[in-house]
Symmetry: C2
């Protein structure tokens, strides 16, 4: 809430930081965040369209076990230039035969064409740096309403759970994603499992052919400096447990150390001879999400003796699961 | 800075969040944090005593490569009850023949006696929950001086870099460690690579026989709920890249999946027939550290186009290296 101080009355500033328990809640035992999520009504979940799912198959591990990674690409209004490119790259089978080339501990796993010579498919767009930001749209209205009603922190009336954020004016969960914001704009944030677009020095913003995912503490200093395009929703362990790179920045020194990528496809373009799973996420505007965020910030389930009274945005991951 | 609002004048509240560049600095090119650390004078480094180093040797990997993990235990005044126990456990060779039993993605790796039947050595103490906190001592004086001189944020005159923290009143780097604080007390924080003590339900606080380390985004909700006793300073990849557990909470379902621990020793009790490395950390009260913290919060090295203007405490890890 760094700069909100200059925007609003001081009284509103400190409340958001502690997601206090909703007034009138008389429960005496407290469910864990996972229990709150499990109890969510069906209507609080949104199915992820198969056309937003990128499926990457790595070579099987040394015991012959298949290694599939499923990535949910960000829907509109986020990062659309790069995501259009990624759809084209998948359709052209660009990543087939490429590899995971970099695994830097507590930072990122990165994959793509190690030779940097493979031809890109036609029609990729160049996105400007303004693409790192998204107009906040209804979020601005929701936050203003929450301030007006002095309900920030109780996550009502619009069920927004706004959290304290050293990297932006405030952070929240919006349209299914964790975002930082300066009120006019929002941007996705570099939490564990988020997928981003490798680039060269500015003004380059990358095409989307070179991708990475976060495998350590959130490197939030990358926010607004590099495009985020999605998140790993299944098979994260197939990337995070890879051997760490032997060279500078976690790149492998030899080609043999790289993990081959067999194929990358959009799920809706995969053969449907075998049934494919569907996924859903918990609506960030639901009452359940507000309760879940509160429980993440104030752990009161039996193991805990001291609720923190706050949480950072990356400790309130949006729940995603296979659809039952 | 959650509750500082109630302690100090409003004017002092917002400055700390952005670690602004020191006034009068006219440099036009900005070194990366790693370059600042590399340029630190020798006097800014403190050698870690071999009697504070816990050395764990795992069974070699499937290519026969040795896997050593070096942990720096927290010196006084932190966590001394548990650390005394850990010294006794190492001296008794308690962990030899035990194993890594749990690897939960984006959370922890945990090791110890999976049978839970191995006899503990005599003389272990039971530590109360008050042991999670440490009297802040001179930190309180340093913070008050920084507030009085209105120098919070510029990390002067005492070179403290105080950061915005959703989990405590403020977080800072003190006596070589990252801590949260409520002014009277400090406590170590659950950043990547920190080592803690497994426990059962409160009032149990654990003996130190069951240890874990953080391998994902900082689970800061565990702060003040569980004892932290040190940090992994070398060989972290030998834990973080282990296969994820197959059962609930990342525990391995079968004994075969566990990684055997060959031995755990205090470094000063190891045979010295082979030369052992020495380590040093960057003094958190040094001018170099203040510069480093500022650079972590405001990346201006060539890759970056937008400095964040802030950082969370776990993104300002205390630099530790092999002594040259």
């Amino acid at each position: 809430m760094r700069k909100l101080s200059f925007l609003f009355a001081a009284a509103a500033i400190f409340a958001p930081i502690s997601l206090t328990h909703a007034a009138g809640d008389t429960a005496t035992s407290y469910p864990a965040p996972s229990e709150i999520v499990a109890a969510a009504p069906a209507g609080d979940w949104t199915t992820i369209d198969a056309s937003d799912l990128l499926v990457m198959d790595l070579a099987p591990d040394n015991k012959g076990k298949p290694r599939r990674v499923v990535i949910q690409l960000m829907p509109a209004p986020f990062s659309q230039g790069w995501i259009g490119n990624i759809r084209k790259l998948a359709a052209a089978h660009f990543w087939d035969g490429t590899s995971v080339n970099r695994v830097q501990d507590n930072y990122v796993v990165q994959w793509g064409d190690a030779s940097e010579k493979k031809a890109l498919p036609p029609g990729l767009v160049t996105v400007g740096e303004e693409g790192y930001l998204t107009k906040s749209g209804d979020l601005e209205r929701l936050v203003k309403a929450a301030i007006e009603h002095d309900t920030i922190g109780t996550a009502r009336p619009d069920h927004l759970a706004i959290v304290h954020d050293p990297y932006s004016d405030f952070a929240t969960s919006w349209r299914g994603w964790s975002v930082g914001s300066n009120m006019s704009y929002v941007w996705p944030v570099h939490c564990y499992g988020m997928v981003g677009v490798g680039r060269n020095l500015s003004p380059d913003t990358g095409t989307g052919a070179e991708l990475y995912t976060v495998i350590g503490h959130a490197p939030r200093h990358l926010d607004r400096n590099i495009a985020l395009v999605g998140r790993v929703i299944e098979g994260m362990e197939n990337l995070s447990s890879l051997p760490r790179g032997t060279g500078d920045l976690g790149f492998y020194k030899t080609a043999e150390e790289r993990t081959p990528i067999l194929s990358v496809r959009m799920m809706n373009e995969m053969p449907n001879d075998k049934p494919l799973p569907a996924y859903e996420y918990l609506n960030t505007e639901s009452k359940t999400f507000a309760k879940y965020a509160d429980a993440r910030a104030n752990r009161r389930d039996p193991f805990f003796i001291k609720p923190a009274g706050g949480a950072d945005i990356c400790n309130i991951p949006v729940p995603v699961r296979r659809k039952r």
